[in-house]
Amino acid sequence: MSASVETLDAHAHDHHHHDPDVQHHFESFEQQQEASKLGMWLFLAQEVMFFGGLFASYTVFRFLYPEAWSVGSHQTSIPIGAFNTSVLLLSSFSMALGVYSVQVGNTRNLIRFLLLTLILGAIFVGVKLQWEYLPKWEHGLVPGLNTFHPDPHPMHGHGVAEWLAADPANVAHLQLFFIFYFLMTGMHALHMLIGFGIILVLLVKAWRGTYGPRRFNTIENFGLYWHFVDIVWVFLFPLFYLVH
């Protein structure tokens, strides 16, 4: 009887010697890290489902209307797309370095890399808005209520005017391409904007010394989010810019 009471006391005594960086419902630091990471991956799995639905619909309509997809894709600028892709890859690199910095306890570099990630992301969105979305609006290529009037003259590619005039369905299918274009790249850009907001919060907290080698879950998890958004763009680029 007394032996079991002693065991109980010893057990309770152990729990009072817990690691200050480990929340009480976890057994170890590693388990806490793992649980945090798994939670983030669960969210990313949901994001895969979200974008996956969009990609699947894209696939169906590209299969059904390949000409419209070809004409639509030729209205995108490959140099701009390639530049933006490079900017995003660099931002993932800087985010990865930010995670490294916090893991080794270098808060100053963490702040620098978070800032760099933010700047690169902002360049991406800025280029997209100014040199992609705005010109498309000016050329009547933005779908909406009576906003889609493709003018074949400034459009790229051969035989576009004939193709548009040949069948009103062609105009409709082209509009469908641009619905997907703005929906998917827009949703991607929205994810980046949300990312910017989070980076700002992380910057403030990092400045206050919140993060270090024993507390960087949030940084690492945000890194996972940012890399995921990069992966989405890695697929958006060939699917919208590189259609023959």
């Binding site: 799995a45 489902m49 996956g52 490959i78 690199f93 490294y100 890194g223 060939p238 590189l242």
Partner: protein, 110 residues
């Protein structure tokens, strides 16, 4: 140094040079995908090559930037679950659409 890493983080810290090598690989793959665009290899290969390169880039980002290579198998399962679902979505959806119509090429006057 590695012993200290084990104690403080319980998992591998990826050195910055590894990240740099991955970045170079990603940049090369991106250049490759743009170059490949200018070779018209037929419908199937055009998109096949582009998607293969995109998948390669995704795998690099997943394994190294997102640390999946250094993660537990449970993390692999969680990471893979979304993509497994995606395979089901694409397979079942396309199985429907691809078999609905008699294939009439839109490029000829049928």
């Amino acid at each position: 140094m590695s012993h200290k890493e084990e104690i403080t983080t319980g998992h591998h810290i990826v050195p910055p040079f590894t990240y740099f090598k991955v970045l170079i690989m990603l940049a090369l793959l991106m250049a490759l995908t743009v170059i490949a665009y200018y070779f018209n290899m037929g419908e199937v290969l055009n998109i096949g090559v582009a998607m293969a390169i995109a998948v390669a880039k995704m795998v690099l980002i997943l394994l190294f930037f997102m640390h999946v290579k250094y993660s537990t198998r449970l993390t692999w399962v969680f990471a893979g679950a979304g993509f497994f679902w995606l395979v089901l979505l694409f397979t079942l959806t396309l199985a429907d659409y691809v078999t609905r119509y008699t294939w009439i090429s839109p490029f000829t006057n049928n």
